[in-house]
Symmetry: C2
Subunit: 203 residues, 2 copies
């Protein structure tokens, strides 16, 4: 089994949840947030709804072997820290940029899931009038939200000044948009993006 340098890609066990009988939200069981987002992006692309992709894991390649008559093999490489968020693309003329994080926590979203360089990146995207947000999954609750980066940045800056190190679950529930489960798209997060766009167009 492959392991990653950070915990964001760990498969979250949901073996403790009750068995499901139909295509309700429990159909999602056993899929990581990343798998759900990949399924959504493939669905969006196939229907010409949006072109959004996960960026490859950044790797520092040190040594490559070139065996005769077969593909190059990377023999030594190291994980690098990403300088941006993991997902971006274009939807209805909007630049869309986001990070996706899963937490096992039920009562708050720990800011330790986010890195300083990602906050800086979110600020850059907002400055250029892109749509910047985080998709947060509370795995034990099987609830997934889209929270605009402005809130994340606010909590982050407050933490820097000695404030709390997490965003309370209730704040996420109040400020963020619930992402509905969709049979084909799985995690139909563009529904939540549409709500952000509606709000922007009202202002």
């Amino acid at each position: 089994m492959m392991r990653y340098p950070n915990g964001s890609k760990k498969r979250v066990s949901r073996a403790n949840t009750a068995p499901a009988s139909s295509a309700d939200k429990y159909s999602n069981r056993g899929m990581t947030l990343e798998e759900d987002l990949n399924a959504a992006n493939i669905y969006y692309l196939s229907r010409n709804i949006a072109s959004i992709h996960k960026k490859p894991t950044p790797v520092q390649i040190v040594n490559v072997d070139y065996p005769k008559r077969s593909a190059a093999v990377i023999k030594e490489a190291y994980f690098k820290q990403a300088s941006t968020t993991d997902y971006n693309g274009v939807y209805k003329g909007y630049h869309v940029d986001f990070e996706a994080k899963e937490t096992r926590n039920k009562t708050s979203f720990p800011l330790s899931n986010i890195h300083a360089h990602q906050i800086a990146h979110m600020e850059q995207v907002i400055h250029q009038r892109g749509l910047s947000f985080i998709i947060i999954r509370f795995a034990p609750l099987e609830e997934t939200y889209l929270m605009e980066s402005e809130y994340i940045i606010e909590y982050w800056n407050n933490q820097e000044r000695g404030g709390r190190k997490s965003i309370p679950y209730q704040t996420v529930k109040d400020k963020a948009y619930t992402i509905p489960f969709h049979f084909q798209a799985r995690l139909d997060y563009l529904k939540a993006v549409d709500m952000v766009l509606e709000k922007l167009e009202e202002n």
Copy 2:
């Protein structure tokens, strides 16, 4: 020295060109197109002009070693074909997406530099109203152009129907935008993007 599975990242020797005396276009000598674009993107980011990044090289990781008290080492991995273009980001609210290609050819840009899946990606980006283009460098001429993907797609489709396998240099010169050399940004390609935007706003 590291080698890549495709030729797009090869360093182009310019040892045959005449020596330069000042900060004119020859100051660019010895820098690959990729290095120039990285320098431009760092400059744009540092001045809050745009947030545009090169995507990491996609790698299929097969085996990772976890030595005690040191970083994880990737022991076996393979290069994967990218499913998108190499660069994207956001500029003045516009989603910007492009591929960069250097050719040693002086008379035409060979379409063999582009892959079918990249053409499909360009079509998706255009459909979502993003700005899609290719940055083409004719290395022996030390000339770099921004060509909108619409032209590339046109030539590509024509090739599929048995047409020519390259875009003539003169067509690039006529249809594309010259990218000026800039002392700080090096390859100041957003100047060419501005010209595309002006044209779009006129229509």
